[in-house]
């Protein structure tokens, strides 16, 4: 019985459609990460500045994302943009918007943490060599901070990829949504198809995420050996 279910995966264009769905998920994750990391870097830098007001506003921003689950975030964008502001974006872009804002919040904290954890004496010895603030940032802080923040950033990326699984809730044609359609279409002929479709999606997510996790672990272990 079970072996009849697996054939669902390869009937017609099913497999290609699933891969197309996966591509949508990965595409949203990558675009959101790029935008989010850019905004997050700026926010992170601003949070190391002296202005209390800026720091406070950005802290509120960060705390908002700490409090609100990503599902809720997606629905906030999904309902409020068109209904309140009359902005009608395709669901894919709404997802990118919500994810980018979330990534920016988390990454700003990673950037701030990394910049602040570059030891004070590094800063001082840079200044003592006559570097100006920009040179200090560019040559001393930035490269050390990137090393410090890379594992956390990769972890964030794996979380963003996993979170793309929520996209079906706002009707994006992601891999899970495609999977559900295939299951429904074949439910009569292949009742066990559900097992294989979800099984494949499970494995697909693992294949995308696991190498990133390994990389991050490897970097962390390397940093600890130093």
């Amino acid at each position: 019985m079970a072996h009849s279910g697996i054939s669902v995966l390869f009937e017609g264009t099913n497999f290609t459609r699933l891969m197309g769905g996966l591509w949508t998920s990965v595409w949203i994750a990558v675009v959101s990460l790029v935008i989010g990391l850019l905004i997050g870097t700026i926010f992170g830098l601003l949070r190391t500045m002296r202005s209390r007001i800026i720091r406070f506003i950005l802290l509120l921003y960060l705390e908002f994302f700490r409090i609100v689950p990503t599902v809720v975030l997606l629905f906030l964008v999904y309902y409020i943009l068109p209904r309140q502001f009359d902005i009608n974006l395709p669901a894919t872009w709404m997802a990118v918007l919500a994810f980018s804002l979330w990534v920016a919040a988390e990454f700003s904290d990673i950037v701030r943490g990394a910049l602040e954890s570059v030891p004070q004496h590094q800063r001082e010895s840079g200044l003592a060599l006559g570097l100006n603030q920009w040179q200090l940032f560019r040559y001393v802080l930035l490269s050390q901070a990137i090393q410090l923040e890379l594992p956390a950033t990769i972890n964030l990326a794996t979380r963003v990829i996993k979170t793309t699984s929520l996209l079906l809730m706002i009707s994006v044609m992601d891999v899970i949504n495609v999977g559900q359609q295939i299951i429904e279409a074949n439910n009569q002929t292949h009742p066990t198809g559900i097992f294989w479709v979800y099984g494949l999606i499970f494995i697909l997510y693992f294949i995308v995420d696991y190498p990133l996790s390994l990389w991050s672990k490897h970097l962390t272990a390397k940093a600890e050996r130093k």
Partner: protein
């Protein structure tokens, strides 16, 4: 904003609120238990089990909760295993959370300095005494920041239960939006409800982190 709508839906939200709290609590406690057992198996390098639990941690951490829930709720019945949505939710959350907690505890145990272990060994402690008196107490203190992050993460993950129709907070709000088409009011209430849960939890965990750091290491 229509206040009467907010008033009328209050009982629904209170129900959802209670369920979110309850599911979070069970999920967190379960995750901590699974996490401790898993990390101890790794720490003592118990053969076979260590490999199995290692695979478990990687699989659970690198796949989304939503797919884990779909599997439990939709695919398992095909194999003859039927569970209520809430049971699936709790099992899924503990499966996921246990792996995250295990990583946190293992990180803590590995963070105990080699000099402390040398000192324990030099006093003639055996492997178990070393674990019980030196590595576990210090390792658990070291893993409190990870524990705190995981607790916050798991509470928020309960929102995903809405996809298998567990009437927790998010599901309650989505249901109401679907029925009455009033998204602003219900979304506002949803955000406030999460704030009521998360703000005290975050403050409490921050306090705990500071206390444990000072208590264990004095800085």
């Amino acid at each position: 904003m229509d206040w009467t709508i907010i008033q009328q839906s209050l009982p629904n939200f209170v129900q959802g609120f209670k369920l979110t709290l309850w599911l979070s609590l069970v999920g967190i406690v379960g995750s901590i238990i699974v996490g401790i057992i898993t990390s101890l198996i790794q720490y003592f390098r118990i053969p076979v089990l260590r490999r199995m639990f290692g695979i478990y941690v990687e699989v659970a951490r690198n796949t989304p909760l939503l797919i884990q829930l779909f599997f439990l709720y939709y695919a398992f019945p095909v194999m003859g295993i039927k569970m209520t949505a809430e049971t699936c939710g709790i099992i899924g959350l503990i499966f996921l959370g246990g792996a995250y907690m295990a990583e946190g505890f293992t990180g803590g145990f590995n963070g105990v300095s080699q000099t402390q272990i040398d000192a324990g060994e030099a006093l003639g402690m055996n492997q178990y005494q070393l674990a019980w008196y030196v590595v576990l107490p210090q390792g658990l203190s070291l893993s409190v920041p990870a524990l705190a992050a995981n607790i916050i993460f798991l509470i928020k993950e309960t929102s995903i239960f809405s996809v298998i129709a567990i009437p927790e907070l998010t599901n309650t709000a989505l249901d109401l939006i679907g029925m009455y088409y009033r998204s602003n009011e219900y979304l506002l209430m949803l955000v406030i409800a999460y704030a009521i849960i998360m703000i005290p939890v975050i403050l409490l965990l921050d306090w705990l982190e500071r206390r444990v750091r000072y208590g264990a290491f004095g800085d």
